[in-house]
Symmetry: C2
Subunit: 382 residues, 2 copies
């Protein structure tokens, strides 16, 4: 890698909080961000060279993005891989991860098939299109099970927990398009490994424990409060997962832990909410890591600095003129704020997060309690 | 402090590397940066909401800046305090630090007088306008002495080391406007304290050792390799210095250490090169601290995470089409890169810096050697 007076430009499809934090982290490397997003003044706009207003599948917007970029990447896996690929080919610009990886990941069934091919352990699953197929799946996998739309879901949208046969109709009504039934895992813990695939090298962050409610990530604890052998096993599985992923970049790998076994839940081909803690808690953050990987620079250290927890700040009532109060208390504490600059609050929308780094060798239970207390002082008010 | 969908905008006079790193650090707080700078595509432009192209004394540019800002601050003390003050008053926007502080600091003689009034120890000094006054100053202060232009100097520009009486003519020719003669301090060490003045509170980073060559800062070592009582004394002096400074913000206080005594050399009313190490080495960086202070939010922790050194990456030959090679080795090491995105390399121009954080309780001599080795692999090539 060489640094020149002319900066390296990263073209990013999507300008949400991931792109915003990517831009914050890329700047010290001399890497600038230009991005496309349909929403004007998207979160990343405050810290990027430029926003091209346009949809994730808008050929014109993506062509303009590719023209300005030295490398293309995504902050959202809902980008249209065909359109991205064509824009990149036309401009002769590399895309990372590969659009094929996006295609694999976008269809949860295809994603699972690819993982199974590589020997990655996943919960049992079946493709489902009809009521009869759902009934068969229930016979084979047992109830309860998770019915998932194969495409387009995120943060629990597109998932339906089927408890009994009486739920079949409601579940089939709720989801659109082809579906997948997945054996319900009564997990002991949910885990995540943020993995980076660079130019001929890989790197893995310490295994993180993720705590969801209503299928939305609420809190992370790093390192995960499980035994060292399980954390190592999670890394082995993450290594196998990367074998199925084509292209450089950071991948967020969500897992279930059950009786010391690891099952892969889902993969995001991008920096992930479960890795936000790395900004303060690791030597090099997942965002800088993603920038390094995509441009083909050496990967940085994933070493934990000290135990770290993060808590998401979610929207509440969706009023337009609210503000977040209690921020002073947060800033006066040892926690660190990351506010995403979204122009509108909506219920359960990710508006920001806070991170609390403890002392080396400190107690993560206590750290989490402390972070929760700080978080509980925050409130949206008119 | 409240966070609203409408972001807080920091208007910054000057868009160099300090503004760039300020913008990187302000973003997580939900604070956006707009700045004025006469050079298009100034370093901060890549990570700011907007650049207003205009000089530091351009009333029109500063009026437009004030109109868009919730708070005004500087990345450079060469801003015209009268023009800034008028623009701020007109728009009803607070400025931090106060323009009066800028006036005091811009004239090195007035700065020294203000410090002496507060009982802050400084090297002996005399105002000098003529050859006779310089001769008198040499009699009183001894030779060698430092002759300094009272206004406009930085990075050693505007300073002349007068060794003997034969240097008088050359020194008087080299400097413009009113001058100041300062007793030459044969210091044991140069130190710096980054101090923050918030809303009714102050905070001080661990005392840093600064290593200059040709009067340009080359390296910093934190904590300074001096005894604990001297580091504490530096903090006491910094506390007194803040008493003379009106307005919130971060101040860089440069000092000489001689036989355990502290003498203040110069003060910068802004984040300072000797505090760049705080990005990785302290809990909250000087840049986030400055943003917090200016908007009146609580100050953050100045705690050292581990011993940290920084090395400046300076321009060499000033060719236009050079690039910096050896960056891959830097990124593959434990050092962290900060590249400022300047469009032109010039001899001794600050192009970037690297930071190396060691282990808690580790050896700073060894850390500095390691950082030097990484730095020595960097080279500008055509």
């Amino acid at each position: 890698m060489r640094l020149t007076p002319e900066p390296t430009t990263l073209g990013v499809v999507g300008g949400g909080q991931l792109c915003r934090m990517l831009a914050e982290a890329a700047s010290p490397l001399g890497i600038e961000v230009v991005f496309t997003d349909p929403t004007p003044d998207a979160p990343a706009s405050a810290v990027s060279r430029d926003q091209i207003v346009g949809g994730f599948d808008d050929p014109d917007a993506l062509a303009r993005l590719a023209d300005r970029a030295d490398f293309l990447t995504y902050d959202i896996e809902l980008a249209d891989p065909d359109v991205v690929e064509e824009a990149a080919d036309e401009a002769g610009v590399p895309v990372h991860p590969n659009p094929d990886t996006l295609r694999t990941i976008q269809d949860k069934y295809v994603q699972k098939e690819a993982l199974v091919d590589e020997g990655v352990p996943v919960p049992d699953y079946r493709a489902v299109e009809t009521r009869d197929e759902l009934a068969d799946a229930a016979d084979e996998l047992g109830l309860p099970l998770m019915l998932k739309a194969r495409e387009g879901g995120y943060d629990g949208r597109g998932n339906f927990a089927v408890e009994t046969r009486d739920d079949f109709d409601e579940a089939l009504d709720a989801l659109e398009g082809p579906m997948m039934a997945e054996k319900f895992v009564d997990y002991d813990r949910e885990l995540s490994v943020i993995a980076a695939q660079g130019d001929g090298e890989t790197a893995f962050y310490p295994t993180t424990e993720t705590i969801h409610r209503e299928e939305i990530l609420r809190r992370t604890v790093s390192p995960a409060r499980t035994d060292a052998s399980t954390r190592r096993r999670a890394h082995e599985v993450a290594r196998d997962v990367l074998e199925t992923m084509d292209g450089r970049g950071v991948y967020g790998i969500e897992m279930f832990e059950k009786d010391g076994e690891i099952l892969v839940n889902e993969i995001a081909p991008r920096p992930h909410n479960s890795g936000h803690w790395t900004i303060e808690g690791a030597r090099v953050s997942q965002f800088e890591q993603h920038a390094r990987a995509v441009v083909g620079a050496p990967l940085g250290s994933t070493e934990l600095r000290a135990p770290t927890v993060s808590v998401n700040i979610l929207g509440e009532d969706g009023e337009r003129d609210v503000s977040l109060a209690g921020v002073g208390d947060l800033l006066a504490s040892d926690a660190r704020l990351h506010w995403y600059g979204k122009r509108e609050e909506r219920p359960l929308r990710k508006m920001g997060h806070l991170t609390l780094v403890g002392e080396d060798g400190g107690d993560t239970d206590e750290l989490l309690r402390e972070a929760d207390e700080i978080h509980d002082e925050l409130r949206f008010e008119e």
